[in-house]
C-alpha cells in the first residue's frame, strides 16, 4: 500500500541527467483528478473498527480471542489445581490424613496455601491481559 496507485499521483516530467542542457522554464503541472482518493496510510485502523469493516472485525475478534485464550488458560489451571483436590482426597485416601510438621496436609492446603497461589495467578492474569491490550493498541495505532 506504499506504492501510489497508477494514474492517481501527480504527473512529472521524465528525469533528466543533471548538467546536460540548460533547463527550460518550469511549468506547473497538476493532475486532472485532484479529488482522487488519498493514500491508505492516512487512515488509522480505528476507522475500520468504527465502520465495522471486515478488517476491523478481524482485529476486534483477534483481541477477543487472545483474551479468551488467556482466560481459559487461567481457569483450566484453577480447575485442575483446585478442582483436583477433592478428587485427590477421594482417590488417594492416604492424603486425607497426611501431615506436614504437625499440621494435616488438607488443612494446610485449604486454609493457607490456596490464598497466595490465588494472588499469584491473578497477578499473572492481570499482567498478561494488559500486555495483550498494549499490543493491540500499538498495532491499531501503527497505521
Amino acid at each position: 500500500m506504499s506504492a501510489p496507485e497508477p494514474g492517481t499521483g501527480p504527473r512529472t516530467d521524465p528525469p533528466r541527467r543533471p548538467g546536460s542542457q540548460p533547463s527550460p522554464a518550469r511549468v506547473r503541472v497538476t493532475s486532472t483528478r485532484r479529488d482522487a482518493p488519498t493514500r491508505r496510510e492516512l487512515r488509522p485502523l480505528t476507522h475500520d473498527i468504527d465502520e465495522q469493516s471486515s478488517l476491523g472485525e478481524v482485529y476486534v475478534s483477534g483481541l477477543m480471542a487472545a483474551q479468551l485464550r488467556l482466560a481459559a488458560q487461567v481457569l483450566a489451571f484453577g480447575a485442575v489445581g483446585l478442582g483436583g483436590l477433592p478428587l485427590l482426597f477421594l482417590l488417594v485416601p492416604a492424603t486425607r490424613t497426611m501431615e506436614l510438621g504437625r499440621v494435616p496436609l488438607p488443612w494446610l492446603v485449604l486454609a493457607v496455601v490456596v490464598y497466595p497461589v490465588a494472588i499469584v495467578v491473578a497477578r499473572y492474569y492481570v499482567r498478561a491481559a494488559e500486555r495483550i491490550e498494549t499490543e493491540f493498541t500499538a498495532v491499531v495505532r501503527r497505521r
Partner: protein
C-alpha cells in the same frame, strides 16, 4: 460476657459508620456523586471498599461456626469466596467496567437491547439481594443477643436503621468511604484477638482438638451436605461460589466506580489479596473452639467467635477481646447490608418506583428523594422476612444466594461478554431456566425440611446442575433464533473489549447505563 464492653464496641462502630457517612454527605453534591462516587475512587480504596462490603456475617461469624461444627470441608467456603473473585477477574472484570453499566439490569439492557430482559434482571437482583440481606439481619440479632442479652429483633433493627440513614443520606461516595474503612476495621477486629488467642493456646502447650482423634471431623469429604454425597456437594458448592460472585448485585456497582477497565482489573487483583488475608483467620476460631469449647449447644455455632475469648481467657482481657470481635461483626453486618441495600435500592428506584412516583406526585420529587424511598423499601422487606423465616444458618443461606446468582447472572455475563451469537431470546430463556430451577431448589431447601439421599444433595447444592443447564439453554435457544441477535452487537463488543486509550466509536446503542448521570 461483660455487657458494657460489647455495647460500647457496637455503639462505637455504628457511630463511626454514621460519622463517615455524614462526612461523605458533605462531599456528595451531584447525582453522579450520589450514585457512583463521581467515578473518582482509586483502585486501592475501591478494593478496600469491595473487601469491606463483601466480608459479611457469613465470613465473620459463619465460617468459624461451620468449621467448628463440620470440620475441614467447610474450608471450601472461604476458598470459594476468594476464588470467585479470580473467576470474576478473568472472565468479566474489564468488560463489565467498559460496558459502562451501573447495575446488572443496565448491563443486560445495553448488551441485549431489550426492556423485557431488563425487567427480568431487575427482579432477579432484588431476589438475590434480599436472600443475601436476610442472614445479615438475622446475624445481627444473634450477635446482639449474645453480647447484651437483648431480644433477637433488636440487632436487625439497629443495622437496618444505620444502613438506611447512611445509604439514604450519602449515597455511593459516603458508602465507598465507609466500606473502605470497614474492611480494615474487620481485619483488625478478627486478626488481633486471633493472635492473642494463638499465644494463649501455645502457652497451654498447643493441645489438639479432641474431636480430631476419634471422628472424621479433621478429614476431607466427610462433613459437607450432611446427607451424604460429599464429593458432589463439594464440587457443587465450589462451582456456586466461584461462578456466583460475579452475579451478586452489590459487586458490579463497585466496578463502575473504577476509572477504566484496566483499573477494574487491578482493583480485583487487590481484592483477591485482601480477601486472602482476612480468610486466614476465621478457621482458626473454629479449630480453637473445638479445643476450648468442645460442647457448644447446637444451633449456637454461629456465635462461637464471640464466645471463644472469654472461654480461653477469663476476666477483663477476654471480655475486651469479645467486645472487639462484636464490633467487627457489627461492621460486617453494616457494610454488607449497606452495599446490598445500595444496589437493591438502585434497582427498585430506577425500575419500579421512579415512573410510579412521577405519576403520583406529578413529577414533583427529586432524584434523591426517590432513591431514599427506595432505600426504605429495600431494607424493610428483608427485615420483615428475617422475623418470619426460621434461621437455617448464616453460611447456608448465603450459599443459596450464590447458587441463584451462579445459575442466572453468570451465564448472562459470560456469554454476553464473549459470544456474539447470544440472542435476546436465548438470554431470556437461560435466565428463566437457571433462575427457575435454582429458585425451586432454594425454596425446597429453606421451607421443605430435611430431604434425604440424592434429591437432598441435589437441591441443597443446586449450582452443579442448574448453572450448566442455564448455559446450555441460553446457547441452544440462541442458535435456534439467529435473527434475534441484537442489532448493535458488534459495536457493543468493541466497547466491552478495546482499551479506553484508543479513540474509537463506543456510542451506546439504546440506553445509557446511567441515564441520570448528567448533573
Amino acid at each position: 460476657m461483660n455487657t458494657a464492653y460489647g455495647v460500647v464496641a457496637i455503639v462505637l462502630i455504628c457511630s463511626v459508620t454514621l460519622a463517615i457517612g455524614a462526612f461523605g454527605l458533605r462531599l456528595s453534591r451531584t447525582t453522579s456523586d450520589f450514585y457512583v462516587a463521581g467515578r473518582t475512587v482509586t483502585p486501592y480504596r475501591n478494593a478496600s471498599a469491595i473487601g469491606g462490603e463483601y466480608l459479611s456475617a457469613a465470613s465473620f461469624l459463619g465460617i468459624a461456626g461451620l468449621v467448628y461444627t463440620n470440620g475441614l470441608d467447610m474450608l471450601w467456603f472461604p476458598v470459594g469466596y476468594t476464588v470467585g473473585y479470580v473467576v470474576l477477574l478473568v472472565l468479566v472484570a474489564a468488560p463489565l467496567r467498559r460496558s459502562g453499566a451501573y447495575t446488572l439490569p443496565d448491563f443486560a439492557e445495553a448488551r441485549l437491547e431489550s426492556r423485557a430482559i431488563r425487567r427480568l434482571c431487575s427482579a432477579l437482583v432484588v431476589a438475590i439481594g434480599w436472600l443475601y440481606l436476610l442472614p445479615q439481619l438475622q446475624g445481627a440479632g444473634l450477635a446482639l443477643t449474645v453480647v447484651t442479652g437483648a431480644p433477637s429483633w433488636v440487632g436487625g433493627v439497629v443495622v437496618a436503621l444505620v444502613v438506611v440513614a447512611n445509604v439514604a443520606a450519602g449515597g455511593m461516595r459516603s458508602i465507598t468511604l465507609v466500606q473502605a474503612v470497614q474492611y480494615w476495621v474487620k481485619l483488625t477486629a478478627i486478626a488481633v484477638p486471633a493472635f492473642v488467642l494463638l499465644w494463649v493456646w501455645l502457652g497451654d502447650g498447643a493441645p489438639g482438638p479432641a474431636v480430631a482423634r476419634d471422628t472424621a471431623w479433621a478429614e476431607p469429604l466427610s462433613g459437607l451436605a450432611g446427607q451424604g454425597h460429599p464429593v458432589y456437594a463439594t464440587y457443587s458448592l465450589l462451582l456456586a461460589l466461584a461462578l456466583g460472585t460475579m452475579g451478586l448485585p452489590h459487586v458490579l456497582v463497585r466496578f463502575y466506580t473504577n476509572p477504566d477497565g484496566r483499573a477494574a482489573r487491578r482493583t480485583t487483583l487487590t481484592v483477591v489479596a485482601l480477601l486472602g488475608a482476612f480468610y486466614l483467620f476465621p478457621p482458626l476460631y473454629g479449630v480453637l473452639g473445638r479445643v476450648y469449647l468442645p460442647a457448644l449447644p447446637t444451633g449456637a455455632s454461629d456465635t462461637l467467635v464471640l464466645r471463644l475469648p472469654e472461654a480461653m481467657i477469663p476476666g477483663g482481657t477476654g471480655d475486651l477481646l469479645s467486645a472487639v470481635l462484636a464490633g467487627g461483626a457489627f461492621a460486617a453486618f453494616l457494610s454488607t447490608a449497606s452495599g446490598l441495600t445500595m444496589s437493591v435500592a438502585g434497582v427498585v428506584d430506577q425500575d419500579l418506583l421512579r415512573r410510579r412516583l412521577g405519576r403520583v406526585t406529578g413529577e414533583d420529587f427529586t432524584v434523591a428523594q426517590g432513591f431514599r424511598l427506595a432505600t426504605l423499601v429495600a431494607v424493610v422487606v428483608p427485615y420483615a422476612a428475617s422475623r418470619l423465616v426460621e434461621p437455617v444458618g448464616l453460611a447456608t443461606m448465603v450459599s443459596l444466594a450464590f447458587a441463584l446468582a451462579a445459575s442466572t447472572f453468570c451465564p448472562l455475563l459470560v456469554l454476553g461478554s464473549w459470544w456474539r451469537g447470544l440472542t435476546t431470546t436465548g438470554a431470556a430463556a437461560g435466565l428463566l431456566v437457571g433462575g427457575g430451577l435454582a429458585a425451586v431448589a432454594v425454596g425446597l431447601t429453606i421451607f421443605g425440611g430435611p430431604i434425604d439421599g440424592w434429591p437432598g444433595a441435589l437441591l441443597g447444592q443446586p449450582a452443579a446442575w442448574t448453572t450448566p443447564l442455564a448455559f446450555v439453554t441460553a446457547g441452544l435457544v440462541s442458535l435456534a433464533t439467529p435473527r434475534r441477535v441484537p442489532r448493535h452487537t458488534a459495536r457493543t463488543m468493541v466497547r466491552l473489549h478495546t482499551p479506553e486509550d484508543l479513540a474509537l466509536d463506543r456510542s451506546r446503542s439504546s440506553v445509557d447505563g446511567l441515564p441520570t448521570a448528567s448533573p
